[in-house]
């Protein structure tokens, strides 16, 4: 019974949102606002149960890990942003978070997305595909080289580079289309199958 009601509610909300395709209307606006509220509430409950309770409240108040007072304070400072007068205090916590992520990204991007990728491009030319790959990487990098005017050989190579980029963007394009269609298929499977029972 509860499941049947749930499926009907879900189906109606799905249709409300799809109604936007015809034109913007109150049913869509209702679903949209409900959605924003529900998703924010979802995150609050989740973080409370999975982070706040086991990582801060329990260890701090039940296991006596007093050092956790510091992140508690930094966390509260973050929330102070809600109050314009003392909002500046949130900069301390933001500075902490930004420091951690900057330090982290600095190293990880350099390793995984630069050095590891360069190493993987040191290929043997026994296969034609390896040659194409190396030429593609080099010419693509030339395109993003801003210290010299793209003229002559450099210009030609940059041109080749942009072609490689375009083929890559084409692949992204194709895959994005694929992804969006898949999501629509998922919704249709729900409407036609779970709700109306027309699919087998």
């Amino acid at each position: 019974m509860a499941d049947t009601i749930g499926i009907w509610v879900a189906a109606l909300l799905t249709l409300f949102i799809f109604s936007f395709l015809y034109k913007d209307n109150p049913l869509y606006k209702m679903a949209e606002h409900l959605f924003i509220g529900v998703s924010a509430g979802y995150w609050v409950s989740y973080l409370y149960q999975n982070v706040f309770k086991p990582n801060l409240y329990n260890p701090l108040f039940h296991q006596g890990k007093l050092l956790l007072i510091i992140p508690l304070i930094l966390g509260l400072m973050m929330v102070m942003r809600l109050f314009p007068k003392i909002g500046w205090i949130s900069r301390w916590s933001i500075a902490f978070i930004v420091g951690i992520t900057s330090g982290y990204y600095l190293i990880t991007y350099l390793q995984t997305n630069a050095v590891d990728q360069v190493r993987a491009s040191l290929l043997n030319f026994s296969q034609i595909n390896n040659i194409i790959l190396v030429v593609g990487v080099l010419s693509g990098l030339i395109y993003f080289f801003f210290s010299a005017e793209h003229r002559g050989v450099l210009g030609g190579t940059a041109k080749l580079g942009i072609w490689f980029l375009m083929v890559a963007f084409g692949a992204s394009f194709g895959y994005t289309v694929m992804a969006r269609i898949s999501l629509l298929i998922g919704r249709m499977q729900f409407l036609l199958g779970d709700w109306l029972g027309l699919l087998h």
Partner: protein, 274 residues
């Protein structure tokens, strides 16, 4: 103003209707087209297949309901494969929204293979922290997840015996819908803690992960619903993804046709001007 111009300014709602039908009709009246398995999916399959029974696999459910049609069928197919090979599966999530989805997939697959919670699989739940969390798992798993999703302390779970950190994990499988996802696992679990990483992602991000495949930073990759359908084919179990492939085919043809017609108008229009 010729017919071309008029047609190119056709009411969008007609186009919406066409694409809606292109997806709905093949679902109602399936054609049953054959699915070809691509190399990255094959590699993912092999990576799991080669693991000796009892190996520990960590699956991170880093996706949400918006990408469910793509990643959920993969989730089921991958867990099934692990269970079929008698691997021990530890589930967790960097996205809170992924936990219940992973849980559901666990339950479905566990029923089919007669696997029991705590012994053969466990769901540790979600924890905030993104990259920082992954890095911490490299030091200690129980410290980050003192209890599992159901509130049981980790030391009471037989499956967690001998699992202290990522070093004791034989393969990380990530179901990735964006950030944090397979890139972060590759960077930290793979790059720093030397654990094998593979998994599935949305079709949107698949092209940008190919360099990691070529450099062997990831062992295999399933891209989008098609990737899921390929894995279902490899497992000989047609599921929701394989069932959607006819609709996917027709919708792609319709979109290609739209692009072609649109460009034809432009071409004709330009000719008219000249």
């Amino acid at each position: 103003m010729g017919m071309g111009k008029k047609l190119s300014q056709i009411d969008r709602r007609i186009i919406f209707l066409v694409i809606g039908l292109a997806v709905a009709l093949p679902l109602l009246f399936p054609i049953g087209l054959q699915i070809r398995v691509s190399e990255p999916a094959q590699r993912m399959y092999k990576a799991i297949d080669q693991l000796p029974p009892g190996s520990k696999v960590l699956i991170s459910f880093d996706y949400d309901p918006t990408t469910m049609p793509e990643l959920y069928p993969m989730n089921i197919a991958l867990v099934r494969h692990c269970f079929a090979k008698d691997l021990k599966v530890i589930g967790m999530a960097l996205w809170p929204t992924g936990v219940p989805l992973g849980e559901e997939a666990f339950e479905i697959a566990a029923k089919d293979y007669g696997k029991s919670y705590g012994q053969d699989y466990v769901n540790l739940g979600y924890k905030a922290g993104d990259i920082v969390l992954i890095s911490n798992l490299g030091k200690s798993i129980p410290q980050q997840f003192p209890i599992d999703f159901r509130g049981t302390p980790l030391e009471e779970l037989p499956i967690m015996k001998g699992v202290r950190s990522l070093k004791n994990i034989d393969l990380v499988i990530d179901l990735s819908a964006g950030f944090p996802g397979i890139v972060e696992w590759t960077m930290i679990a793979g790059g720093r803690h030397h654990v094998k990483v593979g998994g599935g992602c949305t079709a949107v991000s698949a092209p940008s992960y190919y360099p990691y495949l070529q450099s062997k930073q990831i062992v295999g990759l399933l891209g989008g619903m098609k990737g899921a359908a390929e894995y279902e084919t490899l497992m000989n179990a047609r599921g929701a993804a394989a069932g959607g492939m006819d609709a996917q085919s027709i919708a792609h043809l319709v979109i290609i046709l739209f692009i072609f017609i649109g460009n034809l108008f432009m071409f004709l229009g330009n000719k008219g001007k000249a």
